[in-house]
C-alpha cells in the first residue's frame, strides 16, 4: 500500500521550533477538510490508544476559536484550545494553542501548510513553542539554548557514537 510508504518526519529548527512533515495520498481539498471539519477531525486526531476526542469545536476564521477535549477510557480528560490567526484555505492555517495544563510553558504558534503535487498532499506543521508573552519564562528555564537538535540527528548520535 502506498500510504504505508509515507514517512513521518519530525525535526527541530532553530531554538524553539519543531516541524512535522507527512504526505497523504489525497488531494489538498480533502486533507484540508480532514484537518478543519470537526466531524472528520474527531475520527483521526484521537491521540494515544484508549483516547477519543469527544469535544471538537472549530470556528474557522481569523480571530475564531477552537477547543479540543480528549478523554481516555478511565475518564481522564485533557483539553486544548486556541485562536486562529490566519486562514488561507486550502493552503495555510496559522493558529495559537494552549493546553489546559500548560505543559508547553505558554502558548505555542502553529503554522500548517498544505501543498498538493500530483493528487498527493504534503502537510508541514511548524510548532513554535512559547510566544513573546512567555519568552521571559522560557529564558529562565533550562531551555534557554533551545532544542536545536533534530530527532534524526539525535538518533544518529546515539546509534553511531553511543551504541559502540
Amino acid at each position: 500500500m502506498t500510504a504505508a510508504a509515507n514517512k513521518l518526519v519530525v525535526t527541530a529548527h532553530g531554538d524553539r521550533e519543531i516541524r512535522i512533515v507527512r504526505t497523504f495520498d489525497a488531494p489538498r481539498r480533502l486533507v484540508f477538510d480532514a484537518f478543519t471539519k470537526p466531524a472528520l477531525v474527531k475520527r483521526w486526531l484521537t491521540g494515544p490508544d484508549g483516547w477519543s476526542l469527544p469535544v471538537c469545536e472549530i470556528d474557522l476564521r481569523p480571530g475564531g476559536t477552537f477547543r479540543y477535549v480528549w478523554k481516555n477510557t478511565e475518564g481522564t480528560e485533557m483539553g486544548m484550545g486556541g485562536t486562529y490567526r490566519e486562514i488561507d484555505a486550502p493552503d495555510r492555517i496559522v493558529h495559537e494553542e494552549l493546553f489546559d495544563e500548560d505543559w508547553t510553558g505558554g502558548q505555542t504558534l502553529v503554522t500548517t501548510h498544505f501543498v498538493e503535487d500530483g493528487g498527493r498532499t504534503t502537510v508541514t506543521t511548524a510548532v513554535v513553542y512559547s510566544s513573546t508573552e512567555t519568552r521571559d519564562a522560557v529564558l529562565k528555564s533550562p531551555m534557554e539554548s533551545g532544542i536545536a537538535i533534530g530527532y534524526d540527528r539525535l538518533e544518529g548520535i546515539l546509534t553511531s557514537e553511543f551504541a559502540k
Binding site: 500510504a3 509515507n6 513521518l8 519530525v10 531554538d15 512535522i20 507527512r22 497523504f24 495520498d25 489525497a26 488531494p27 480533502l30 486533507v31 477538510d33 480532514a34 472528520l40 475520527r43 483521526w44 486526531l45 484521537t46 491521540g47 494515544p48 490508544d49 505543559w103 528555564s141 533550562p142 531551555m143 534557554e144 539554548s145 533551545g146 532544542i147 536545536a148 537538535i149 530527532y151 539525535l154 538518533e155 548520535i157 546515539l158 557514537e161 553511543f162 559502540k164
Partner: protein, 127 residues
C-alpha cells in the same frame, strides 16, 4: 529536576556542536579536561564551561577520586530524550495512519458522488 526539566536540560545540552563532540569523545572512554581540550583546540576553561552544562544535564559525571578527575558519559538522560521524541513521533504516526484511512473513505465518497451526481446535473440542465 522534574522529568520535563530534565528533558529540557538534555536537549539544551545537546544543542551545541562542541558538547556533542565532547560526548562523542567520551563515548570512547573516560577523559580528563586536558585530554578533552586538546582535539578541540580549546582552552581548559572553555571546555570546563561546556562540561558544567553537560554535568548539570546529567550527561557527564566526573570522578572525584583521582587528581585528573576523569569525565565519564552517562547514558540514561539520552535514553530518556530519545524515548520522549519517540513517543511524540508514535503519537503522530498513529493519528496520521487513522487520517490515511479516513482520506481513503473521503476519496471513495467523492468518486461515487461524482458518478451519481453527473446524470442528475444533465437532467437539471434539460429542465
Amino acid at each position: 529536576m522534574t522529568p520535563s526539566e530534565r528533558l529540557d536540560a538534555t536537549f539544551a545540552a545537546l544543542a551545541d556542536p562542541t558538547r556533542r563532540a565532547i560526548l562523542a569523545r567520551l563515548a570512547l572512554g573516560e577523559a580528563s579536561v586536558l585530554e578533552l581540550a586538546e582535539p578541540f583546540a580549546m582552552s581548559q576553561p572553555a571546555v570546563s564551561k561546556h562540561l558544567k552544562v553537560l554535568e548539570r544535564a546529567g550527561l557527564v559525571s566526573r570522578s572525584r577520586a583521582a587528581q585528573r578527575r576523569p569525565c565519564r558519559i552517562e547514558i540514561d538522560p539520552l535514553t530518556e530524550a530519545t524515548d520522549w521524541l519517540e513517543e511524540y513521533r508514535k503519537l503522530w504516526e498513529a493519528n496520521f495512519s487513522r487520517l490515511d484511512t479516513l482520506l481513503e473513505e473521503l476519496k471513495a465518497d467523492a468518486a461515487s458522488q461524482v458518478s451519481s451526481v453527473q446524470p442528475n446535473d444533465f437532467t437539471t440542465k434539460e429542465d
